[in-house]
C-alpha cells in the first residue's frame, strides 16, 4: 500500500468527482492510497480519504487497467469489471477474491464474511460476542479450494450474520459468487 503523489491524486479526483456533492472531493483535503490486488488484471484498490474529519471519510474504488468502479456495498461494481473481462482468477488468487468480495459487499445485518484471519475480520461491530471465543478455532488451514467444471468450490468457515458456521462458496469463472451454509438451517 502506498500514498499517491499529489498530481496523481488530483488526476484521479477529476475522474471520479461529482460536483453535486460539495466538500467531499476537495483535493486539498484528500489523500489517495493504492493497494495492489492480483485477482484483477492490473488491479488495485484505491482509497480516497477526506482528511477534514478524523477518522477520515473514505471512498473505495476498484481499478483494473483503464476501468474504475466505485465500491458501493453491492456486487454490481464487481459485475461491471467482470463483464469487461478484467478478472484474473486462478488457484493463487481465488481466496483473495472471495475475501475481498465478502468485505465489500455489505448485506448488513446479514453479512457473510470469510473467516481467514480472525483478527482482521471486517465489520467486527456486527459480530456476536461468541465469535470472539470461537474465532481462534479456525484459520486459513480450514479453507479448502477445489476446481469445478466452470469455476471453484471453496469449503471454509464463514461468519454468517455474526455467527461462525462452515460454508460452501461457489465461484464461477465469470466471478459470480454464491455462498451458503454447509448444513442449511
Amino acid at each position: 500500500m502506498h500514498y499517491l503523489a499529489p498530481e496523481e491524486k488530483d488526476e484521479f479526483i477529476e475522474l471520479v468527482r461529482d460536483d453535486n456533492l460539495p466538500g467531499i472531493f476537495e483535493a486539498d483535503y484528500c489523500a489517495l492510497r493504492k493497494i495492489p490486488y492480483s485477482f484483477y488484471k492490473d488491479g488495485h484498490l484505491l482509497i480516497l480519504e477526506n482528511l477534514s474529519i478524523a477518522p477520515p471519510f473514505a471512498l473505495d474504488y476498484l481499478q483494473s487497467g483503464q476501468h474504475i468502479v466505485y465500491l458501493d456495498g453491492s456486487a454490481a461494481p464487481f459485475e461491471i469489471l467482470n463483464a469487461h473481462g478484467c478478472l484474473n482468477l486462478n488457484d493463487e488468487t481465488i481466496i483473495d477474491y472471495l475475501e475481498f468480495f465478502c468485505t465489500y459487499v455489505n448485506q448488513r445485518p446479514d453479512n457473510i464474511l470469510l473467516l481467514r484471519n480472525p483478527d482482521h475480520i471486517p465489520f467486527q461491530d456486527t459480530i456476536y460476542i461468541d465469535f470472539h471465543f470461537d474465532k481462534n478455532n479456525y484459520g486459513e488451514k480450514d479453507i479448502k479450494v477445489k476446481r469445478s467444471e466452470n469455476g471453484y468450490i471453496v469449503n471454509a468457515p464463514f461468519v454468517f450474520a455474526g455467527k461462525i458456521d462452515l460454508g460452501i462458496a461457489t465461484i464461477n469463472d465469470n466471478g459470480d459468487i454464491h455462498i451458503e451454509r454447509e448444513n442449511p438451517r
Binding site: 483535503y29 477518522p55 476501468h67 456495498g73 465489520f123 461491530d125
Partner: protein, 169 residues
C-alpha cells in the same frame, strides 16, 4: 470509465425512516429543526460526513433498503457536528496531518459522541435498542462511562485508550 453514481437509490425513503426513528427523542426532534441539506450516499460501510455547516452526508450500504437505528444515531451526531461547525472556523488544508490538528479532530469526534449519548438514552427509553446499537458501533465502553456521569475530558481519555489499543492491533 463509467462515472460513479454515489447517491443511494432509496435515499429518500431511508431518510424519512431515519428521521422518524430520531423523532422518538425530544432532543432528536429539536435537532431535526436545524436547517441542513441531507444527502444519502451508498458505500460499503455506514459513516457520516458533515461539510461545514451546510450539508450532512450519510453513507449507507447500497443493499440496505430501510432506515435503521444506527443511521438515526449517526444523523443525530451529524446534526451535532453541523451545529459545532457554525461556531468553528473551517479547517485550513495546510494544517492537515499535524499532530495538534489530528488531536483536535479526534477530540471533536469525542465531543460529538458525548453529545449524542443523551439522544441515544432517550431513544432507549422510547423502546429502541439504542444501547445495543451503540455497543455494536463500538461505543459501548464510552456510553457506560457517560452513564456514570464522567466529564467530556474523561470520555476523551477513554477514547484515546480505545484508539491506541485499536492502532496496536
Amino acid at each position: 470509465m463509467i462515472q460513479p453514481a454515489y447517491t443511494h437509490p432509496r435515499g429518500e425513503v431511508i431518510l424519512n425512516e431515519v428521521k422518524s426513528i430520531l423523532s422518538a427523542s425530544a432532543k432528536g426532534v429539536s435537532l431535526l429543526q436545524e436547517p441542513a441539506q441531507i444527502i444519502i450516499l451508498k458505500g460499503p460501510l455506514p459513516q457520516a460526513f458533515v461539510y461545514e455547516d451546510k450539508i450532512i452526508y450519510l453513507r449507507i450500504p447500497a443493499l440496505q433498503e430501510k432506515g435503521r437505528l444506527e443511521q438515526a444515531i449517526d444523523l443525530a451526531g451529524a446534526y451535532i457536528e453541523l451545529k459545532m461547525n457554525q461556531k468553528l472556523s473551517p479547517l485550513e488544508a495546510e494544517s492537515l496531518g499535524s499532530d495538534d490538528i489530528l488531536s483536535e479532530q479526534h477530540y471533536k469526534n469525542v465531543a460529538i459522541i458525548y453529545k449524542t449519548f443523551p439522544i441515544a438514552a432517550e431513544l432507549e427509553e422510547q423502546g429502541h435498542k439504542a444501547v445495543k446499537e451503540l455497543r455494536l458501533m463500538g461505543l459501548g465502553k464510552l456510553y457506560q462511562a457517560w452513564k456514570t456521569g464522567v466529564t467530556l475530558e474523561d470520555c476523551a481519555n477513554i477514547y484515546w485508550e480505545m484508539f491506541e489499543t485499536k492502532e496496536e492491533d
